[in-house]
């Protein structure tokens, strides 16, 4: 085995390299130099993102245990994008709250991204579960990232958020393992490609469903979603921005690899179940979001709703549906990170407060932030000319082609319900009088992150075609 055989893994390896540099630098650098580590990590993610356009990352590694291609490339870019934005957004927050331990934050973030990037290419269940956990474990720590001496407000909430996240996550991991045990036990192989030809038995199916449950935790599908609002509310906002998109994308990547590329399940026997879950997720997310007072919590429930739409795309089990799922994930990434970044910029009081009412009169305090937030909200609601519209529409098209007309109708109506609570924020921003008229000083990193997200939301909204083409390519490379 030569080093050149590892070339498909170049992107994850580069991330690994960057992470190691951060690790070493964190040890070497003086304590107050942590901010530079964040900048470095952001730059590294961005550079690797740029490199992804030049490096050939297709090919099989380790006898097909890991397979690179357009599919992995698409996801890698999503993760790198999310990583870049998260680092940028975190710069100020981390420096302010944990000035002494900034390196660890970025290291953990890099580790998680590394896990995610390896996930879509994994064609072996062992690798899959290792990647899954590599992605997941740093997240628990990051969720609880707060001053330990901060016994009120933010710190306390962060600890609670992390604990809940962790406990539900740990149990889910066990279920994931249980599922794998059943699947591997019944089939005798860990190769995902080989699993596709297995005869289904009761225990085997049981294993698959348990596996699905274990992964469903990560994407926050109802009823595995209950940690989501609590964690989002309590955890540091820039991290939540990352948490709300990247693990979701990774989770769907894993689901797609296992269930679509592997077992071709949703197109067959489990489809009604998936559709049921998709519908439930959409409805529950919406209903709970209606009366939320915390903006982060509101977006958490809204995120659950969005998962419902993604699950609908996933449940088609078709190549088209998968392409639409990928596009949805891409659009959702820029939109949701952007929205959380605005919350970070707006409602970053030290009490951990982030009420919807904190947005009162944002228009007067910072027109640019307000406009950005409005566009993000419109995108989340699926309104034309921002990316969210196309994302929903493509999902609907795919679902329609797969014959799920009723769910399309349900989804379309629920999108309107969702508009109600998104508009609560918009209304506060534009129609209410500000309680505090002081202008908002947005940190540079957050500003940059918002700008990038905004460009994505508007750009893809105005001209979605090339991005859709990429998603189609990625989908094709998975399905062959």
């Amino acid at each position: 085995m030569t080093l050149s055989e590892l070339s498909p893994l170049s992107l994850p390896l580069l991330v690994l390299g960057a992470a190691l540099i951060v690790l070493l630098a964190d040890i070497a650098l003086p304590k107050n130099g942590g901010r530079h580590l964040g900048l470095f990590m952001a730059a590294a993610f961005a550079a690797i993102f740029g490199a992804s356009f030049f490096l050939d990352s297709s090919g099989r590694v380790f006898d097909g245990v890991w397979v690179g291609g357009d599919f992995t490339l698409f996801f890698d870019r999503v993760f790198l994008l999310a990583g870049t934005l998260a680092c940028l957004g975190s710069l100020d927050h981390v420096a302010r709250h944990m000035p002494g331990r900034q390196g660890e934050y970025y290291l953990l973030l890099a580790a998680s991204v590394l896990g995610m990037m390896l996930l879509p290419g994994a064609r072996d269940l062992i690798l899959l579960v290792v990647c899954f956990e590599l992605m997941g474990m740093p997240l628990y720590l990051l969720a609880g990232w707060a001053k330990t001496d901060d016994t009120r407000g933010r710190g306390k909430n962060a600890a609670e958020a992390a604990l809940k996240f962790y406990l539900v996550g740990a149990v889910s991991s066990v279920f994931l393992l249980l599922g794998l045990a059943l699947v591997v036990g019944m089939s005798g192989t860990t190769s995902i490609e080989a699993l596709g030809h297995m005869r289904h038995s009761a225990l085997f199916d049981l294993g698959l469903l348990t596996l699905f449950g274990g992964m469903g935790f990560k994407i926050g599908v109802v009823p595995f979603h209950m940690w989501v609002p609590d964690t989002y509310e309590g955890a540091p906002t820039p991290f939540v921005a990352f948490l709300s998109v990247a693990p979701k994308a990774a989770g769907f990547a894993a689901l797609t690899v296992v269930f679509l590329a592997g077992f071709h399940v949703p197109s067959g026997s489990f489809m009604p179940l998936m559709l049921l879950l998709a519908a439930t997720t959409m409805i529950v997310g919406n209903l709970f979001a209606l009366r939320q007072e915390s903006a982060k919590r509101l977006l958490a429930y809204s995120g659950i709703t969005q998962v419902g739409y993604m699950l609908l795309a996933f449940a088609t089990g078709t190549r088209l549906g998968t392409a639409m799922l990928l596009f949805y994930l891409l659009g959702y990434t820029v939109t949701n990170i952007g929205a959380f970044m605005v919350i970070e910029a707006t409602a970053s009081g030290d009490q951990g407060e982030d009420r919807v009412s904190d947005f009162d009169g944002l228009y007067a305090r910072s027109p640019a932030l307000a406009l950005a937030m409005l566009l993000f909200l419109l995108s989340l609601a699926g309104i034309p000319f921002v990316v969210g519209f196309w994302a929903k529409l493509y999902v609907f098209i795919a679902a329609w082609e797969a014959g799920h007309g009723v769910l399309v109708f349900l989804g379309a109506v629920l999108a309107v319900v969702a508009l109600f609570y998104y508009m609560r924020i918009a209304r506060a921003m534009y129609m209410n009088e500000p309680k505090d008229t002081s202008p908002i000083k947005t940190p540079f990193g957050v500003k940059l992150a918002i700008a990038i997200c905004l460009a994505g939301v508007v750009g893809m909204g105005a001209y979605p075609a090339p991005f859709l083409e990429q998603a189609m390519l990625a989908s094709r490379s998975l399905f062959g």
């Binding site: 279920f175 009761a202 049981l206 469903l209 940690w227 709970f288 209606l290 319900v417």
Partner: protein, 604 residues
Amino acid sequence: MSLPIELALVALFTPAAMAVILALVPPLRRTGRPAAWLSVLAASISLGASVWLFADQLGHPSRDLLESVRWLPHAGAAMANVGLRIDGISAGMTLVVTLVAFCVQVFSLDYMRSEPAADLGRYFTYHSFFIFSMLLLVLAPNLLQLFFGWELVGLTSYLLIGFYFKKPSAAKAAVKAFWVTKLADTGLLLALVVLYTHTGGFEWTSHPGAEVATIITLLLFVAVMGKSAQFPLHVWLPDAMEGPTPVSALLHAATMVAAGVYLIVRTNPLFAQAEFTREVMVWIGSFTAVFAAVIACVQTDIKKVLAYSTCSQLGYMVAALGAGSVMGGYFHLTTHAFFKALLFLAAGSVIHAVHSNEMSDMGGLWKRMKLTTIVFVIGSVSLAGIPGLAGFFSKDLILEGMLESGHTVPWLMLLGAAFLTAFYMGRVLFTAFFGELSEKAKHAHEGGWEMQLPLVLLAIPALGAGYFASRFAGMWHLEYELHLNLEAGAASGLAILGFAVAYVMYGRGAPVATPAILRPIAKLAASGVLDRFYEGLYRVLGLKLAGAVGFFDRYVVDGLMNLSGYLALTAGQKLRRLQSGNVRDYVFVVAFAIFALSAFGILR
């Protein structure tokens, strides 16, 4: 384009142009008298053209000209045209309209002198517009254009009745007039719809079949009842007297209210196919003639007397047309236009002098206003149908036609009405113009020449129009022959009797008391039973129902919409409790869900 068409265009569009100019150039309109004079100028041009047109038509009695352009498209072709139709009937009516309108405008110059300049300008703008709309109706080549003009004159009527819009009673009267006529006009609108659907056009010469013709003509007649104030849709006309008196003369006596009759004359080919409709017309017309005449006998307001008189005379015309006497109806329309306009203007002259509408405030005006008295006598006598004057010829024609068609009872009713007509006109004459000089009349004097000239102008045809009946009949392609027989004598005799009775009762300067025999009727008329009925209908079917619909929409239909929102929001709030915050619950849900999924997987 031939000469008559050009003349008609001039007659039609000179006042139209004037109305547009006055409407669009407020500074000009607000100058008052200059604007008024401009309007009179336009009216006189229009009158001149009409006279020429009429004279030309007299020279070619059988000429029937049609000039039209496409107005509404249908499937690339024409659905309806607009244009001019010039024959004897329209030429005659054009002359009547422009003549009376001209007289009224001149009269108004003095009568309305004290109005503020801006209002005066507005007044004459409406008048110019009225000439245009009325001629649009008169010269219409098809029913659609006729309807167009029909509604526009209705609009001018509304605007002119409401001229003193600051006066609540005037405002109310204007709106009432519009509502009642608009309700009736719905019939005409539907008639258009039916006519077009069944014949593919709006021509009144078409033959849609007897049944459809009956439907159409009945619908048309509903409109006629509104416009020409036939019972029970006459209620707006007395109230319309709230407008300035010259307006009453022009619109609500001479021309506009006669439009209904004109409509029937024009669409006679359709009415000829509908026997049932004509029967209805005979009875409603006759009843209106008597009914309105009776009420006229108990009025003390001089304009109200004349208004009910108009109602009654329109009843004559409608009955005549129902009986098939087109000549009678149309001729009476013409003569009535002259003498009733004359009467109204004379009354206006009196009102102008004594500043009151009440006959009790008048009395002995002969001593102060010689000319007015003379013309009023001419008008009254002509209206009553005393032989030799215009009214006699036309009324006689009607009664004869009625008898000829075998409608004896209606004939008797009309005879009764003839008696009553003479009686109430005599009553007005004797109480207002003769006897003791009343307090208010002491300082009365004739108006300026602007007021006197029209009176003289109109007195001439009121006296002599009857002698041209056969000439007109030729123009109108109708038969006319004067029969001096017993039946005709009966009417004349009754008319003279009526005057005699009036003289006996009021001739010696007695106050305007209601004759004892008519007291119950007076009471009934004063209580306004029909008005109250309509008002009740309006309150219950209109306002109450509207209120109910408003409530229903606001609180039930919209309530259901709101309810759905409320339910969602409440559910959202209640459901939040499920998210307890206790992580052990979360874990339990995860475990339970996985078991449920597994159960699904196994039991599937």
